[in-house]
């Protein structure tokens, strides 16, 4: 059974976060810090907000389908 989209999205986010952590070990200058603040942190925050909202929304959709099976 395929995972829910929000679970897959969460998995993707953890994977890219792990790659970013590794990249940081090879990027040791001011620009790396700037990239982290200006690009990476907002991307992470916005992705988490979306995936949480998606999870909540899909929970309601799933309950709606289940509850109306008479």
């Amino acid at each position: 059974m395929p995972a829910r989209p929000d679970e897959d999205g969460d998995h993707l986010l953890r994977m890219i976060d792990s790659i970013w952590q590794k990249t940081q070990q090879h990027w040791l200058d001011d620009m790396a810090g700037h990239f982290d603040r200006a690009h990476w942190t907002p991307l992470l925050a916005e992705s988490r907000t979306y995936l949480r909202a998606l999870g909540e929304c899909l929970e309601v959709m799933s309950t709606a389908q289940r509850d109306t099976e008479f």
Binding site: P5, D6, I16, I19, F35, A53, L54, C57, M61, F70
Partner: protein, 154 residues
């Protein structure tokens, strides 16, 4: 502005990260599509069920009306008549239809609340992330040029 000479980065690591970001963008776009699809499937499913119960309600109302007509004739002839089963069936169909309609309303409210967050994330994937990837590409190209490495592809 930082000069490329001040950048201390492993080009391969940056390339790997940039490629991973591109893959992430495509894969998350699929997640967004699947999420939207799930909402549409729920809407369509509820509409389908509402349609079925509307039809059933109409049939049961017709049965109840026919029963009442027959009952009137039976009672006129002095015989007992009972349409309580038909009345119960009508009530049940109406209650279930109302219940589905309440769920339809809830789903619309939820989808509407979610839409704002989903639109922002879609913009991030379609507009912001490609810019970020291009920014990384510019850094990589700058480093390659500064280190005398031939620039290959994007």
């Amino acid at each position: 502005m930082t000069d490329v000479a001040d950048i201390h980065a492993d080009i391969d690591a940056l390339k790997e990260f940039r490629d991973a970001l591109t893959e992430f963008r495509h894969a998350q776009r699929e997640v967004v599509e699947r999420g939207d699809q799930e909402i549409e499937v729920t809407r369509a499913g509820l509409e389908d069920k509402a349609g079925q119960w509307r039809s059933l309600l109409a049939r049961r109302e017709a049965d109840f009306a026919a029963c009442q007509l027959a009952a009137a004739a039976e009672l006129a002839a002095g015989r007992p008549a009972d349409c309580s089963a038909e009345a119960t069936a009508v009530r049940e169909a109406q209650e279930r239809l109302d219940y589905i309609r309440r769920w339809q309303q809830r789903v619309e409210e939820e989808a509407s609340t979610f839409r704002g967050t989903a639109d922002r994330f879609r913009d991030l994937l379609d507009l912001d992330l490609p810019r970020t990837e291009n920014h990384l590409l510019a850094i990589i190209s700058g480093l390659q040029a500064a280190r005398g490495i031939p620039v290959t592809g994007s």
